[in-house]
């Protein structure tokens, strides 16, 4: 029987087709989806996406030094720091959510709800107000997280629905008007400072450190990143995928609620009608500019801080050069598109 072998069959088994061959085919199936695809900018993978933001901050500061006297001063930068706080705090939560390959569009509305609820509970003292704010964050975050993790609604869809509903809720709860804050502790939080550093900045700095530590040093943080990097593999490795997802949205909700508190304290008034509008966009921008790709799998906390600062600086610089807020908005739109484009370049390069 065995004499009937064809010559080809007799050749010794060559090493099997390499994995790349199969993967290449597979990738190409997904890639085949675009016969008319254009090439994206090819950047050296890595550093530009990761560290470009710091370079950009330096560049902006240099430009400011030359063009705008008084901008790069202790007082000037202090103002920028104070103004960036709400966006920054929200961005921290957003970075975690995006790290899991999700998105949280509800953050601006959560801020508003938090601001609306705050005055109602300040009757129980500042602690009562703070508790109420945290509860707002936990509840809204759990709803978003449960929708994503258990009902398996796409994150963008679930949080978009919450964006709409919570904005209405905030207006309803707040009675559609501005409420002055009279609680001295909250006002002190907004206006006071320690060693020349405003409290709001201190709080934001503490939150940055805490989130950075959570990401780097806790099982939760590492599991979050793994889930964003490869959900199937994480599930197979026995990770509690759903629990981590829900927790991530809860954290994002709480941080947004705290941002609402900080913004309200700073203003000295609760303005649930407008507070946090389009803030989700600024937060996403900060996160993406900071080197966290929208496709998840990595979280860059410091980069996010830098991203938030960069957007703030550019906006402030344009405005202090008598360019309108309108122009600043258009520029920001351009920055977002550019940042996402650059991050897409990374995904392609790797």
């Amino acid at each position: 029987m065995s004499e009937r072998r064809t010559p080809a069959a007799a050749t010794a088994a060559r090493p099997p087709a390499t994995d790349d061959g199969e993967a290449g085919t597979r990738r190409d199936r997904a890639g085949s989806t675009g016969p008319g695809r254009r090439s994206r900018p090819r950047l050296r993978p890595g550093w530009f996406q990761d560290y470009g933001v710091y370079a950009a901050i330096v560049l902006v500061l240099v430009v400011a030094l030359v063009t705008t006297p008084g901008f790069v001063s202790l007082g000037g930068l202090r103002t920028q720091l104070i103004q960036v706080v709400p966006v920054l705090v929200v961005s921290l939560g957003m970075a975690l959510v995006i790290g899991t390959e999700g998105i949280d569009l509800s953050v601006g509305s959560v801020m508003a709800v938090s601001a609306a609820v705050l005055p109602l509970y300040l009757g129980y003292g500042a602690v009562g107000g703070l508790l109420a704010v945290v509860v707002v964050g936990v509840v809204t975050g759990s709803v978003a997280g449960s929708l994503v993790a258990f009902v398996r609604v796409q994150p963008i869809v679930a949080t978009l629905a919450l964006l709409v509903g919570l904005r209405g809720l905030a207006t309803v709860v707040g009675g559609g008007r501005q409420t002055q804050i009279i609680n001295p502790t909250v006002l002190q939080l907004g206006r006071g400072e320690v060693l020349g550093v405003p409290y709001v900045v201190v709080v934001a700095a503490v939150l940055v450190v805490v989130v950075a530590l959570v990401v780097q040093r806790t099982t939760f943080g590492r599991q979050l990143v793994a889930i964003g990097g490869n959900r199937t593999a994480s599930r197979l490795a026995g990770l509690p995928v759903r629990r981590v997802l829900v927790t991530v949205y809860v954290v994002s909700g709480v941080l947004a609620a705290v941002a609402g508190l900080l913004a309200t304290a700073r203003l000295g008034a609760s303005t649930p009608n407008t507070l946090g509008e389009l803030l989700e966009l600024s937060a996403i921008t900060a996160v993406v500019i900071g080197g966290t790709p929208l496709s998840g799998g990595r979280v860059r906390v410091l980069g996010t801080v830098a991203g938030a600062l960069l957007v703030q600086l550019i906006t402030a610089l344009l405005i202090s050069n008598d360019l309108s807020y309108a122009t600043a908005q258009m520029v920001q739109a351009g920055i977002i598109v550019a940042a996402v484009w650059i991050q897409l370049g990374r995904r392609r390069a790797s």
């Binding site: 064809t6 087709a17 199969e22 806790t218 943080g221 799998g297």
Partner: protein, 562 residues
């Protein structure tokens, strides 16, 4: 044969030449589709290497080969999904160069994919006519005609379904028939069917075959990809076998024995036997099994699988692609839902469908697809290794670098993982080292049972030997191992026992001295009591001698019954 050559080819196929072609099986017709010297490279691999392929009019041509053989790539070149780097494709005598699927379709080459590639939300009729809907005089879509035509078409294929029903409400088999109807309605001259039966019930397969017979009779040429031997012999006239990107055989199927076909696919001959290096006396099946799989059923791929693994034993799972090996271990590991049957680890029953639960019970699975199911690309080697063991290594939920480093260091040394530092991104490693990282991930969980699905695929020869040696070591330490490999020598070399699966059920089991490539191939081919017997008779040590000493060869041949 017919006068097709005289028609001006190259444009949209003029109404078919049906009827004039008796479509007699086996008789050589004129070539419809010719592939000459086609080369297709992907980064790091040559998927097609100087491939010649000829499809004749009115034939059913089987295209077979194991994973990575290049079948899918060839099909994609034929259907305009990929473009060949070198070589030419001639269709009806003219050289063609399709740049997208629609061009191939317009020319008369239709494809039916393994997974139904239709739009589930839309009605049956819309799916049949998407992109070329019949129009009214006003240029609007004529639904009445569309539904009528689709209904007629499907009835013609023997599938009278209501064409207005949403596709997703139909069974998979019927959906596949709708895909077929779509292909037929384009007046296809060539039909490419990529494992069309892999998700079908047996009776659905019958309907599909009946339809294929009709098409065949009307002169349509069919390229048929499948791993099921019975099907191939039933419906195909000729066969082309591919391996490692090359064509290794083309010819009539009728004269080719099953065993020979399997040999061609696997690239082995009976003579090229590797000696088993394992020490047979080492394992004792008397010990209570660490893993018992009993009557496992999961989806359409795993129908009835029963086997057990003793501590220190390596049990091989043999079979062709699509036999249900991967799905079996996935179901055991909780990655696929279990419809029936049970899995016991050290006697206690496993709750199905939960990877975390299976892992806690001591079952670790090295998945087949390293990229999508294994590595987390953004993380470092260290983090990839500790991923599954993270809770154990992190007291109070806080990551302990000291504990991690200890584990990572142990495994990097023991598995000889070549890294510049544990902090190196895992995506920078070679395939072999990535595989070792994953192996380390599972070993770090202290498993009792290790399921290895193609552990040496796509890694270089050196790493392969190391991984194989490691599996031996692990078994010697008392771990129960299930080993899946498409390479026979690897199974024979590494396994104490081989359970062969065919179409989702156990087709036979080889123990002791019977764990040989020729035996294995016979059972895989489903020819244990036909060609296989003859082949074995010719071999130096027949089944009788080896079989009595260590245990009987069970060959419950279930494939033929279906």
């Amino acid at each position: 044969m017919s006068s097709t050559g005289s028609t001006t080819a190259g444009r949209r196929a003029a109404p078919p030449h049906r009827g004039e072609e008796p479509g007699s099986r086996g008789e050589p017709g004129e070539p419809v589709l010719e592939v000459r010297g086609v080369v297709k490279e992907f980064p790091g691999a040559r998927a097609l290497d100087d491939v010649d392929f000829t499809l004749r009019r009115g034939e059913v041509h089987a295209l077979v080969g194991e994973n990575g053989a290049g079948k899918s790539t060839l099909i994609k070149v034929l259907t305009g999904v990929h473009r060949a780097d070198e070589g030419e494709v001639r269709y009806r005598g003219e050289r063609v160069r399709f740049t997208k699927p629609s061009e191939a379709q317009d020319a008369g080459i239709s494809t039916i994919y393994q997974e139904v590639n239709l739009v589930g939300l839309q009605s049956v009729a819309r799916n049949v006519f998407l992109g070329r809907e019949p129009r009214t005089r006003l240029g609007l879509v004529d639904f009445r005609r569309m539904n009528r035509d689709a209904g007629a078409l499907l009835a013609d294929l023997g599938v009278p379904v209501d064409p207005t029903r949403p596709l997703r409400t139909l069974g998979l088999g019927t959906q596949q028939m709708v895909a077929l109807a779509r292909a037929v309605s384009t007046d296809a001259q060539v039909l490419v069917m990529d494992e069309p039966t892999s998700s079908l019930e047996p009776r659905e397969v019958e309907v599909l075959f009946a339809t294929m017979d009709r098409l065949h009779a009307s002169g349509v040429a069919i390229v048929y990809v499948s791993h099921r031997m019975d099907e191939l012999y039933r419906v195909c006239d000729r066969v082309t076998v591919m391996r490692d990107g090359r064509v290794v055989h083309t010819g009539e199927l009728a004269g080719l024995e099953r065993l020979e076909l399997v040999r061609l696919m696997l690239g082995r001959s009976v003579d090229a036997r590797t000696e088993r290096s394992r020490d047979d006396g080492q394992t004792s099946s008397d010990e209570a099994p660490v893993l018992e799989v009993d009557g496992l059923r999961s989806g359409t791929s795993v129908r009835d699988v029963t086997f057990s693994v003793a501590p220190g034993e390596v049990v091989g799972l043999g079979g062709l692609l699509g036999a249900g090996r991967t799905e079996t271990v996935k179901a055991v590991a909780g990655a696929l839902p279990v419809d029936d049957g049970q899995v016991r680890v050290r006697g206690s029953r496993l709750r199905p469908g939960r990877p975390a639960g299976s892992l806690r019970a001591g079952v670790a699975m090295l998945a087949e697809d390293r990229k999508t199911e294994g590595i987390v690309p953004g993380l470092s080697v260290r983090e990839n290794i500790v991923l599954a063991a993270l809770p154990r290594l992190s007291p109070g939920g806080l990551v302990s670098r000291a504990r991690q480093d200890a584990v990572v260091e142990t495994f990097v040394r023991r598995l000889r993982i070549k890294v510049s530092s544990p902090e190196q991104p895992v995506s920078e490693l070679s395939g072999g080292n990535q595989q070792k990282v994953l192996l380390a991930r599972w070993l770090a969980t202290h498993p009792t049972v290790l399921l290895l699905d193609e552990p040496t695929r796509g890694i270089d020869v050196g790493a392969k030997a190391e991984v194989q040696g490691l599996v031996d070591e692990l078994a010697a330490e008392g771990l129960g191992v299930v080993l899946i490999s498409s390479e026979l020598d690897e199974l024979v070399r590494g396994a104490d026992r081989v359970v062969v699966l065919r179409e989702g059920a156990v087709a036979g089991e080889l123990t002791g001295a019977l764990v040989r490539e020729d035996e294995l191939m016979s059972v895989i081919a489903g020819a244990a009591d036909r060609d296989g017997a003859r082949a074995c008779a010719g071999a130096p040590d027949g089944p009788a001698g080896g079989g009595t000493s260590t245990g009987p060869t069970t060959s419950r041949t279930t494939g033929g019954a279906r």
